[in-house]
């Protein structure tokens, strides 16, 4: 028996394989071809979202650091009041240094006709006023002053009819109220919104007073309430979250791109393969 040559075996195997391919039963491809699965939009979206998250974290003002300034609802002896959050917006000129808030209204503690707060304006454009005590509903005049302009608005603080069931009973007549003050400062190029929040009077503990007895007004501008300039900066947690978001979204984008690029034969074929080949004999 003569030894079999490789060429003979290879030709026989090739013919066998061709027969298998040609005699294969019909194949139905229900949805064989979809639109081009471009992978790069996922990368772009991921990076863009990551940048947006980082920018958001950087631009976040101190609201997230403030001690729970959410509107607080409380009930009194026979009436129910809902804390009201009101935003007033006006335009003043850009000015450095300090923003001054002056608040006048019927709900200020006895003997205090007005409350004046000042807060440094950070380079990021944010400032924060210390809590202001309010005890009754009514119209309050809010004046926000910067060195180059003043804006005054009357902000109504109204009693609502709705009752928040989970609201704790009012320990005193000092009604927690949250006010938000937004000031738009026009710059040379584009407006920047300065926002002051946290005009809130923290609820007093139940032992602070009895119903019908006004609680002692909180210390105005106590050291603990003052806002230090460093408070307007980014905390370590914010930076960490920003980094985590950035990395996570970037990985999401890149991962999606890699997965979809695996579907693209062009990545394997290479861009330099276009049109440079000469055809085989059956081309």
């Amino acid at each position: 028996m003569s030894p079999v040559s490789f060429d003979e075996r290879a030709r026989a195997a090739a013919a066998s394989l061709r027969r298998v391919v040609e005699q294969a039963p019909p194949i139905t491809l229900p949805s064989p071809v979809g639109p081009r699965r471009a992978w790069w939009p996922f990368v772009v979206l991921g990076v863009a979202a990551a940048i947006a998250a980082l920018v958001t974290a950087v631009n976040a003002d101190d609201g997230s650091q403030a001690p729970a300034p959410a509107p607080t609802t409380t009930s009194m002896a026979t009436t129910t009041s809902a804390a009201t959050t009101t935003t007033t917006t006006t335009t003043v000129a850009r000015g450095p240094a300090t923003a001054v808030l002056t608040l006048r209204g019927p709900g200020l503690p006895d003997g205090i006709p007005e409350v004046v707060r000042d807060a440094p304006i950070e380079p990021t454009g944010s400032f924060r006023f210390a809590p202001v005590p309010l005890s009754l509903e009514g119209d309050y005049d809010i004046t926000v002053t910067t060195p180059r302009g003043t804006a005054t608005r009357t902000v109504p603080v109204v009693a609502g009819e709705s009752i928040t069931e989970r609201a704790p009973p009012a320990p005193t007549k000092t009604e927690p109220v949250t006010l938000s003050v937004a000031v738009t400062v026009e710059g040379n190029r584009s407006p920047i919104t300065l926002e002051g929040r946290t005009l809130v009077d923290e609820p007093q503990p139940p032992s602070a007073g009895t119903e019908g007895t006004p609680a002692p007004p909180p210390d105005e501008m106590s050291p603990s309430e003052e806002v230090s300039p460093s408070d307007d900066g980014l905390s370590t947690g914010e930076v960490a979250w920003g980094v985590v978001l950035f990395v996570g979204l970037a990985l999401f984008g890149l991962g999606g791109g890699l997965v979809l690029s695996a579907r693209s034969p062009l990545c394997q074929a290479g861009s330099n393969s276009t049109g440079s080949a000469s055809g085989p004999r059956n081309a």
């Binding site: 030894p3 079999v4 040559s5 490789f6 060429d7 075996r9 290879a10 030709r11 026989a12 195997a13 090739a14 066998s16 394989l17 061709r18 027969r19 298998v20 391919v21 040609e22 005699q23 294969a24 039963p25 019909p26 194949i27 139905t28 491809l29 229900p30 064989p32 071809v33 979809g34 639109p35 081009r36 695996a262 579907r263 693209s264 034969p265 062009l266 394997q268 074929a269 290479g270 330099n272 393969s273 276009t274 049109g275 440079s276 080949a277 000469s278 055809g279 085989p280 004999r281 059956n282 081309a283």
Partner: protein, 188 residues
């Protein structure tokens, strides 16, 4: 006939042409080359069902770059040869094909003779470039020059690769190697 997606389906599926008819010549090219390209993918991947998907990917790539490709037959073979020897892509194509076939009626393929199957298994154990050269040489019946064109490499490299591949396969399969004049064209 294999119920392969045809060029009209490619055009209507939202390709770059936005639903326009297939570019001139693509349909004929597709029908002419389909079986050979599937066979090449089968030889290099070892999976009949994955070969269908790999070939389809190659044809879709050719469809999208139809106006840029001067020699589509060589180009699509290069693409499918690269796809088929890539383990990741081959497995991905096989997974897709299996998923697709689960919803269809059972199919069976006529198996190759055992000794032929053994030869192709040995081919697939070769280095990628050697496997590509062997498949193009014996299955596609291409000359050294044509293989060099398909793989975008030098003819001397193809000759050397082909020599090494033959020797390795002959040793593995206990066959003899004859001196072949690779300059004269195809294997047959």
């Amino acid at each position: 006939m294999i119920g392969w997606v045809g060029a009209p389906a490619l055009a209507s599926a939202g390709g770059d042409n936005g639903g326009q008819p297939a570019p001139p010549g693509f349909d004929d090219f597709f029908r002419r080359e389909r079986t050979a390209v599937v066979g090449l993918a089968y030889a290099l991947s070892g999976s009949r069902v994955a070969a269908e998907d790999l070939a389809q990917d190659a044809f879709i790539a050719a469809y999208r770059r139809w106006d840029e490709i001067e020699q589509p037959a060589a180009w699509v073979r290069r693409v499918v040869a690269n796809l088929a020897v890539s383990g990741f892509r081959r497995r991905a194509a096989e997974a897709r094909a299996i998923t697709r076939l689960r919803s269809e009626r059972p199919r069976s393929f006529d198996p190759m003779p055992a000794e032929d199957e053994e030869l192709w298994k040995a081919v697939r154990r070769l280095p990628k470039r050697q496997a590509q050269v062997i498949a193009l040489r014996y299955l596609e019946d291409l000359s050294v020059a044509e293989i060099a064109a398909v793989l975008d490499t030098a003819e001397g490299t193809v000759k050397a690769t082909l020599f090494q591949a033959r020797r390795s396969l002959a040793r593995a399969l206990e066959l003899t190697v004859e001196d072949a004049d690779d300059d004269e064209g195809g294997a047959s």
